[in-house]
Subunit: 150 residues, 2 copies
DNA sequence: ACTGAAAGTGAGAAGCATTCTCATCTTGGA
DNA sequence: TCCAAGATGAGAATGCTTCTCACTTTCAGT
């Protein structure tokens, strides 16, 4: 395997994304691309990015690696863009959601805004909420300052 | 056009779903199926249901009619099931969300649980939330009483 | 280091929901 | 009634994602 500078710590971080499963050179590359990604990405975007340095990498491999990381909690689905799932690197293991910046694509983790009281209306009516999905879109602080609000 | 009992009021209700656009026999049938649906449905489910009485009805026609109703605000996307979009009849024109009963498929409209304070965390960090999507899954009061919680 | 079974890979086919194309009706205002 | 805009049905096309298959790589146990 070709090793680059800082490969040991990068390997450890990459391996962590898969939750300790078997590691291949391709999965390592994919994990590093996920770790170095700024913000959200689609599987296809990640594949294109990786193709620049690894022309032989298959799209199915990217999907499989992302699925493995998803299962291990290393990446999360944070929304959708143009019909494709938007993914992002995520290490928080507590319950939270994501704010996707529609300007730069960056992803900010936010605490779940749904508390006991917020769901009181449903509870009062006798319903039980067992699962919820929240996706937030907006502008991150940087883009907001840069004039995104103009 | 074949007319059934109560067709005049049904027509009016059906027409309203499209927001006053041109009306065809097929669109009328589709709108009535939407109005009589109990809970959420996918485009394909609706098509199958309609096929029983209207064998010639095309799937594309159902998709087009649903898109028209969606644009007019007569139906809303309330979640997803097995890769297909879950739709439901919805007439509330204020901002709200939907609770999909995972047992019977019924859909309950709920007020948006996100208030000013709920988004304070994002605001404090300097971010701006411009759009959000919330999908709630759980059990409706009826299924809960019927032992769904067992 | 060697071995073998389990797991990963690449290419392309397949699956699926949804949209588009096009020739042919319908609709509804003039 | 007339007719242009709009709707329809069948199937092709599209795009995302998953599966298949033959082959290669990984790694625990030796």
């Amino acid at each position: 395997m070709i090793r680059t500078t800082d490969s040991r710590s990068a390997d450890a971080a990459a391996r962590a994304l898969y939750g300790g499963a078997r590691m291949s050179e391709q999965r390592s590359l994919i994990a590093r691309a996920v770790l170095s990604a700024t913000g959200a990405f689609t599987a296809d975007e990640l594949h294109h990015r990786l193709r620049e340095t690894s022309p032989g990498l298959g799209l199915a491999t990217v999907y499989r690696a992302l699925a493995a990381m998803h299962a291990a909690g290393g990446v999360a689905t944070v929304g959708e863009r143009g019909g494709s799932a938007l993914l992002a690197h995520c290490v928080r293991d507590d319950h939270h959601h994501h704010l996707v910046c529609t300007s730069c694509g960056d992803v900010i983790s936010v605490d779940c805004p749904l508390g006991e009281t917020a769901l009181a209306a449903a509870a009062r009516a006798g319903h039980l909420v067992t699962r919820h999905e929240i996706t937030l879109y907006g502008l991150c602080a940087r883009c907001l300052r840069a004039g995104g609000g103009a």
